[in-house]
Amino acid sequence: MVAGPPGVGKEALGYWFIRSGLLAGDFCLYVTHLAVSEVLEDMRAFRISMDKLPTWIATEGSEVKCDISDLTSLSTRIKEAVRTNAGEGKRVRVVTDILSSLLMLNSADTIYRFFTQLLAGSKQSNAVFLATIEEGMHQPQVLAAMEQLFDGVLELRLYEEGPRVDPLFRVRKMRGTVPRPNYFRYEFSKGKMEISAYAK
């Protein structure tokens, strides 16, 4: 899970994850509450070139529609896409930006159950699931509950340091390892993400 306030570039991490998956020959699924054209426009703005495109579940421009008000059909569609492609022996990557939208429309309990089932199904198919969530939009206890669902949590934020504003990230949780509590500076430039050590 990638958490952070709007505008810090969470979705760009998802784009890179998809891009590297496509280059490696994995099946990549992008589930979004936006139109396909909007996501592609965003990718271009981040200078991420896609020779191949992922499979889409989007509100506009995709064969399979993303209807976030119908959780049952959404879950079925994602699971079906994952199961079919995992069955063909492909590694599967799923990226989604719908978590915050779902939490705005439904109770946290409902979404917790929805994602528990979805992630359990994905794990059975050995799929890797990357979800972005907007920090500041939800109650801290809701965020904490969502963190429990994922094996790893990355936190991206803007930090004010005197007259400077720095975009920093840290690994808040990573299953099987003790995350280092350090912050790293990051930026997306020249079509890539650059990470450097941060010193106050």
């Binding site: 570039g9 965003d42 915050s100 939009m137 803007l158 004010e160 350090n182 941060y198 010193a199």
Partner: protein, 249 residues
């Protein structure tokens, strides 16, 4: 008749207030560009940039207004320049509204096209440019003076700001619909900024000394609202000291 002493006090007060207003707008602009540089997503960067440009233009607008009023209020070319600055300030404010509306739609889980903005924006931009050029043309045609005590004598010189009012209503509707506290906070300060601006531009626009002082005070409040709008572009945190240094290796 006011004495020379009271005129002097009034002038000093007016210019001191003007300096505070310009400083506040400039401070807001600096923060807007700082945040813009730290943001990653193009749409958010674009919004921060427009907020910064708005702050810069209002700082220029207030300072040029005071300087021209002091030096050559009767000069037609300087008056025309002031009209141009006002119109550009209106256009950049509309650009800020436009990016904010785009963002509000993206952050809406149901992707609602509030106020039919996607379609309406094309018309608004078209009419903004038409009225801006029309108003500037009428300024030249009627040789209207921005600093004339008689005002514009009924000439059509409203320019781009009339369309900003329409954007204001769209923002209010977005505020009511949005469930995102970060966006709502920004919309609140942005709305207050526009509201005070309209008060200054309408109720307090008459050339009466008391109104001019009150106008400058309200502009200072307005610049503060803009600054708060800038700071609400993205939540800023502070790094805890013990976690800030990356050890070697």
């Amino acid at each position: 008749m006011p004495s020379d002493y009271s005129i002097l006090v009034f002038t000093i007060l007016l210019y001191a207030l003007g300096a505070v207003v310009v400083a506040l707008y400039a401070y807001g602009a600096v923060w807007a560009f700082r945040i813009r540089n730290a943001l990653m997503t193009p749409l958010y960067r674009s919004r921060a940039q427009w907020v910064g440009v708005v702050a810069v233009f209002f700082a220029i607008l207030v300072s040029s207004n005071l300087l021209i009023r002091l030096t050559a209020p009767g000069d037609f070319y300087l008056s025309f320049l002031e009209y141009c600055i006002v119109d550009v300030a209106g256009i950049v404010t509309l650009a800020w509204i436009d990016t904010t509306m785009k963002m509000a739609r993206r952050l809406d889980p149901l992707n609602r096209n509030t106020f039919k903005w996607r379609q309406l924006r094309i018309l608004i931009w078209f009419f903004t440019f038409v009225t801006t050029f029309g108003s500037l043309f009428s300024v030249v045609w009627f040789r209207a003076n921005f600093f004339s005590p008689a005002g514009t004598a009924g000439n059509f010189v409203s320019g781009s700001f009339g369309w900003v009012l329409l954007g204001f209503f769209a923002l209010v509707l977005s505020y009511r619909r949005s469930r995102d506290p970060i966006l709502k906070e920004h919309l609140k300060w942005f709305g207050l900024f526009l509201f005070v601006l309209f008060i200054v531009d309408t109720v307090l626009s008459r050339e009466i000394d008391a109104f001019r002082i009150a106008g400058e005070v309200l502009l200072a409040v307005d610049a503060y609202f803009l600054y708060r709008g800038v700071k609400s572009l993205a939540p800023l945190s502070r790094v805890p000291l013990e976690r800030s240094v990356e050890p070697p290796g």
